[in-house]
């Protein structure tokens, strides 16, 4: 069993990262389960997904004990929580949320050996663990400083039993490196990657280095995972796309990008944007009510009692209208068409409402979405 795992806090403005990754996971026909670990503030709600299992976890950014703002805290802390609570066993593929899958990764690993992407900028030197001397401070917190570190980074494959051991140490070291370390830009930006390497070595997890991932500057398209923390550039080095400024789901222009991973990324993004803009994504999904769901009308609200769920699901008027149209015959596009006949609202608004309501109903266990041909 392969669990493809990424971490993405609950932020509506950045939901598209998770949606894009989920879409790519499905398109690549990646086996196993897709898991989104969602650092969630107390009282907050976790987003819903069509396919991904959403696991709300405590938010560790900013760090609860130091106050430091650093997104690298969330991954190890969320992994610790998820693995402890669920006790899953299998191979875990860890991806950055700002990445897509272009091909399936089907390797499974045994305890004691991981597969990870080489880290070319690993800060090697004459210090402890073969690190640069600027990391001498880690000696205070590590018993054996002669361990050889594997210079690797995500995406990576590791067995859940190894991950369960190293995640707490990974989380702890990230905070210590951030607290005591300094690089040219201030606190070390790579603290989480370095902490991973040390933690893995301390628990004797060996690594096979393999290019599971690359970034948008790579001319090669062999790696199954493309990360897009770097902007996409044209052959002349001009920025043609940047995730910070991208407006989902506006059109992008892959042909403007230099050949390679950047162009592949934009092609994926464009395909998804076109499907969403045209509503084709809705036509591909047919909602099916799950057995045992009971319905009650309370004043102007509809309440659903879903077997196995503690709380009632309360639907407002628009969500109830959508629920009523989940008759097993219509796909989501058909529901939009019917709503267009009944209500005077822009098509795009109705589509968004149907998408979000369908996800909420999936998350509540009231329906499942059948992918239609």
């Amino acid at each position: 069993m392969i669990y493809t795992v990424f971490t993405r806090p609950s932020d509506p403005s950045r939901q598209w990262h998770a949606d894009l990754l989920e879409s790519s996971w499905q398109r690549a026909q990646q086996p196993g389960e897709l898991v989104r670990l969602t650092p969630t503030a107390a009282g907050g709600s976790a987003p819903a997904h069509d396919k991904a299992t959403v696991v709300p976890t405590l938010a560790w950014n900013p760090h609860p004990y130091t106050g430091d703002q650093y997104e690298g805290y969330d991954m190890p802390a969320s992994l610790l929580e998820w693995l402890f609570r669920t006790g899953v066993e299998g191979t875990v593929l860890i991806l950055d949320s700002r990445s897509i899958l272009t091909k399936a990764i089907t390797d499974e690993v045994e305890p004691g050996t991981a597969v990870a992407t080489p880290w070319p900028e690993f800060p090697s030197g004459e210090g402890p663990f073969g690190l640069a001397m600027s990391y001498k401070f880690v000696e205070c917190y590590c018993v054996n400083r002669t361990l050889a570190l594997a210079p690797v980074q995500p995406p990576l494959l590791m067995h859940s039993s190894d991950l369960r051991k190293i995640a707490p140490r990974w989380a702890e070291l990230t905070a210590l490196i951030r607290a005591d370390g300094q690089d040219t830009h201030g606190k070390p930006a790579d603290a989480d990657r370095l902490a991973y390497c040390i933690a893995a070595a301390e628990y004797r997890v060996r690594h096979d280095a393999r290019a599971l991932g690359t970034d948008t500057s790579d001319e090669s398209t062999d790696a199954p995972v493309i990360g897009y923390r770097r902007p996409v550039e044209s052959p002349r080095g001009e920025i043609v796309w940047d995730d910070h400024t991208y407006e989902p789901w506006s059109e992008v222009y892959p042909e403007k990008a230099a050949p390679g991973a950047g162009r592949v990324l934009l092609s994926h993004l464009n395909e998804m944007a076109t499907r969403i803009q045209s509503g084709a994504d809705l036509a591909a999904k047919r909602p099916l009510r799950k057995g045992g769901v009971r319905e009650a009308r309370v004043l102007d609200e509809t309440q659903l009692e879903v077997p196995g769920y503690r709380d009632f699901v309360t639907l407002n008027a628009s969500a109830a209208a959508i629920w009523d149209l989940c008759d097993g015959e219509r796909n989501l596009a058909g529901i939009v068409e019917e709503l267009e006949r009944r209500f005077d609202a822009p098509t795009e608004t109705l589509r968004d409402a149907v998408r979000s309501t369908a996800r909420e109903l999936v998350a509540a266990g009231a329906i499942e979405l059948e992918e239609s041909v």
Binding site: A42, T57, L58, Y65, L80, A171, Y203
Partner: protein
């Protein structure tokens, strides 16, 4: 730690049980099981009337094996040389046990509760664990007999290093524990709370050592211990047997808590941490260590996480980077996160 001296006699016991069975075993006269056996034998009628199982575990083959006997099945015990014991009541929970153990008239039917226990294996890295063992061995001369509320107590027989909090090895473990804290505390059913202190104690248990059933706090006096975390470490291959941690179920008489007879048993595995709510009856079962060598002891670092009545934003923990004296915003209301 108990050590046999040339003057310690070996008592040959011949135990006859219902059905004509007979057990012959030698037992050093200073073994606590000897007193337990005769005490249980004398009190077997009372125990039976209360519906309580009355079992005694006796070591065999120099501690390599054990025999558990139902005392109510015993017909007679012969001892050679003869045993003359000043018998005492069955060992009760020490320190914090409520004084009255008699059935309460017209008491409501109790609710049996099983406490949550968190078990975390491979708590420290390989070298960290090895270093812990090396440290304990180096500190041999600092171990003193364990006490209960500062005094020797028949319910406790092991060795302790006092003033262990804030040592480097304590800080190492505490720092790791703070990363685990929200996960552990939630699993044990606690809401987030500000920390006042994390108190550490280092113990060594060798042949015959034990700590009878007790709670680390009973809530009746000012004691802000909330969670107890016991980290086990020892030299491998293991040179002892026994030493299980028993965590007892409780009987809740509408707020009055008593120890039940049923329990969970947790093995002392090297590099394992066990966490439970401090207000839980637990017991260290007797340890058998045939070599009696200090190096073969079962070591444990116990950490108690204390709740702060007055949150202190300046309080630092572990290596000194972590401020846990207030409830982090991210932890507030964590029980609602599912």
């Amino acid at each position: 730690m108990s050590e046999e001296t040339p003057a310690t006699r070996v008592i040959d016991l011949r135990i006859r049980t219902i059905g004509g069975h007979e057990y012959v075993l030698p037992l050093p006269e200073d073994r606590p099981e000897l007193r337990q056996l005769f005490t249980a034998f004398v009190n077997r009628a009372a125990m039976a009337s209360q519906g309580k199982p009355n079992l005694v575990e006796l070591p065999l083959e120099g501690g390599e094996a054990a025999c558990t006997i139902a005392v109510d099945q015993i017909v007679s015990i012969e001892s050679s040389p003869p045993v003359l014991l000043q018998l005492e009541q069955p060992v009760e929970a020490a320190a914090a046990q409520p004084a009255a153990q008699q059935p309460v008239e017209h008491a409501p039917a109790p609710t049996l509760r099983r406490p949550e226990v968190v078990v975390i294996d491979d708590f420290l890295g390989v070298d960290e664990n090895t270093d812990m063992v090396a440290y304990a061995l180096r500190e041999r001369d600092r171990f003193e007999p364990g006490t209960v509320e500062g005094k020797a107590h028949p319910a406790r027989h092991n060795s302790v290093v006092m003033n262990f909090t804030h040592s480097a090895h304590s800080n190492l473990l505490v720092n790791r524990l703070l990363i685990w804290f929200p996960t552990v505390a939630r699993a044990l059913g606690h809401e987030a709370f500000p920390l006042k202190a994390i108190e550490s104690q280092l113990t060594a248990s060798n042949d015959g050592d034990f700590y009878g059933a007790h709670m680390d706090t009973d809530g009746s006096k000012p004691d802000d211990r909330v969670i107890a975390c016991v980290y086990y470490f020892f030299r491998e291959p293991r040179g002892f047997s026994g030493g299980d941690l028993r965590v007892y179920d409780t009987l809740d008489y509408g707020g009055e808590i008593r120890r039940a007879e049923s329990f969970q048993s947790i093995q002392p595995v090297n590099n394992r941490l066990v966490a439970f709510t401090a207000r839980t009856f637990h017991e260290l079962r007797p340890i058998r260590c045939p070599s009696k060598a200090f190096e073969d002891s079962r070591f444990a670092m116990t950490n108690w996480i204390h709740r702060a009545d007055n949150p202190d934003p300046a309080a630092r923990f572990g290596w000194g980077h972590f401020h846990a004296g207030t409830i982090p915003r991210a932890f507030q209301g964590w029980s609602s996160l599912r």
